[in-house]
Amino acid sequence: MFNIQSKINKNLFNLFIFVFLISSCSSINVTEEVVYDGGISTVEASIREESSLDYETRAIFTNATVYFEFDKFNLNSKSLQTLKSAVAAMKDNSSIKITISGHADERGTREYNLALGQRRAESVRDYFAVNGINANRVTVKSYGEERPLSNGSDETSYAKNRRAEIN
């Protein structure tokens, strides 16, 4: 007695797999199939050009960095001190526009760390906003754990990497 089933393979070339089930006291599973290979293409990501930087105004500002505790995004008193002079510099020169990028250490998942880096950058933005800096002068983004300052897997490295950079 033969029981023939056919199913169409999902793949591109409409391959067929025939399964013959021979039912007797012992059944043999008979199959035939063709290896599918759809091919692969490589893409080069075109990297955007860096926007031309105004080195004079950047020099006044001197790349401030503030640091955070694990899984935290609140500003401590040392950070507030750092940001105070940043706010002053921005008030002195209304042409300065800044980007705040938030970062995390490698512990925990990459996407959660991306969101955490964003919260850290947002904390800094909030400080600027509260101190009267117009929101359109501030761009905020996160790199999560993807751009560590230190590659070590110890608390000293982690502490350096949990940061928000202003530049």
Binding site: E32, V35, I40, T109, Q118, S142
Partner: protein, 425 residues
């Protein structure tokens, strides 16, 4: 004879240099399988036997006996003496042959015999091309696995992952697709900016990922075969954490429209967005239940990262908390049968991969090193591949639900964020 030896060396050499498979622990009660060296007139037979052995070993569910461990080596069914195999405690016998039909075609035939019933239980033929012996061998492995365990095999599936090669002043990031055993690596995307969160479309023809090439996180989709790619949403916001719905029509993602991470569902056809979460804490890492009715995500709303579930069929209900043990549970994904979730769990100061069944109220740790991340489960639900950190570099490891552990071969640079394809066979 001399020529024959030379061919053997040329063929065998790349296999052993590229594939270092380390099985650190297998199943406690494995099937015992006699894998008789494949016959055939060409050199492919050695490669096929070796790849099939590796594939079966990696499942952790077999004890493989090769020719040198057997009492007799039958070359056909007629020569098969079952008592020689019964003495060794063998459950199943596999024999086969490879034939080059012409320059562009190769065919492998294999048979599976049950020692218990003293009968043949399967005979199969796989057709392929000579320079894709590896894929052909994976098909054979999956056929054997399927016959013996009753489950679909995953040797013929693929892994997607990211590598980073650091040099002094910059990094090179690559998005790579490889066979499930880590061999046959091919580059999908090369960039000097970070690439994270790669994932497969349900038909495994496209991938989605986050690239920072525009200066901030943006989600792209890309066809594997053609390289055709697009940014899924053109706007000024950071977008990340893409996950395809099981029917392929939607992408759940995290968008930072309000500055904060919130989850949305994007209709890929008309680009309509539906907002799924609305909370001042972090909401990210969404993934779909197998039937598409629920979305799991990580939220900081309780004060620490925990997993939550939204039922898409009960709109506007409060997300249901899934994890309660410990203060860090993140990046959850459903088992293919929908009965549980795998995720990253923090225990003391270690991050481990853990499993929780929905009908149990405790967490089952699956790994035990310090910084385990990014678990992704095989389409048959049996194996979890994840990223580990060892001596300052990242590599990929695997664990089966039956407890077998393995490492995938070490690539150049740091390897991370593995994602398992669907079935391709």
């Amino acid at each position: 004879m001399k020529k024959y030896l030379l061919t053997l060396l040329l063929v065998a050499q790349p296999i052993f240099s590229e594939l270092v498979l380390e099985i650190t622990k297998g199943s406690d009660n494995p099937y015992s399988v006699a894998l008789i060296n494949f016959n055939g007139s060409n050199s492919a037979k050695y490669q096929v036997t070796s790849i099939v052995k590796n594939d079966l070993d990696r499942t952790g569910e077999f004890r493989i006996l090769e020719n040198n461990k057997l009492l007799s080596i039958p070359s056909s069914e007629e020569e098969l003496n079952y008592s020689d195999f019964k003495l060794l405690g063998v459950d199943f016998i596999v024999m086969g042959s490879v034939a080059e039909e012409d320059i562009s075609n190769i065919a492998a035939t294999y048979k599976v015999f049950s020692v218990k019933t003293e009968s043949q239980i399967r005979t199969s033929t796989v057709y392929g091309v000579p320079n894709k012996i590896r894929q052909l061998s994976h098909y054979i492995s999956d056929g054997i696995y399927e016959e013996i365990t009753g489950l679909q095999g995953v040797a013929s599936t693929r892994l997607l992952y990211v590598t980073e090669e650091r040099s002094k002043d910059r990094s090179l990031f690559k998005l790579i697709v490889a066979d499930a055993d880590g061999s046959n690596e091919q580059i999908l995307l090369r960039s000097t900016e970070p690439i994270i969160s790669p994932s497969w479309s349900p038909d495994s023809k496209q991938v989605a990922y986050v690239s920072f090439e525009t200066g901030m996180a943006k989600v792209f989709t890309q066809y594997i075969a053609t390289g055709k790619r697009e940014i899924v949403l053109e706007n000024q916001f950071q977008i990340s954490s893409p996950s395809w719905s099981p029917n392929g029509k939607y992408l759940s993602l995290t968008m930072y429209q309000d500055g904060n991470a919130e989850i949305y569902i994007l209709n890929l056809k008309n680009k309509n967005l539906t907002r799924l979460t609305n909370h001042y804490s972090i909401d990210t890492e969404s993934s779909w239940s197998p039937n598409g009715s629920k979305v799991m995500f990580t939220s900081g709303r309780s004060g620490s990262p925990q997993l939550y579930e939204i039922n898409l069929r009960k709109f506007n209900t409060v997300p249901k908390r899934v994890t309660f043990e410990g203060n860090y549970n993140a990046k959850g994904s459903y088992l293919p049968n929908g009965e549980g979730v795998i995720f990253v769990h923090r225990k003391n100061s270690s991050f481990q991969i853990a499993l929780k069944y929905f009908n149990e109220n405790f967490v089952r740790p699956l790994t035990n090193s310090k910084l385990d991340e990014s678990p992704s489960i095989s389409p048959n639900g049996n194996v979890i591949v994840y990223a580990i950190s060892e001596n300052g570099t990242g590599l990929l490891a695997g664990v089966t639900l039956s407890g077998a552990r393995f490492r995938l071969p070490i690539q150049k640079g740091e390897v991370r964020e593995p994602s398992w394809s669907g079935f391709l066979r």
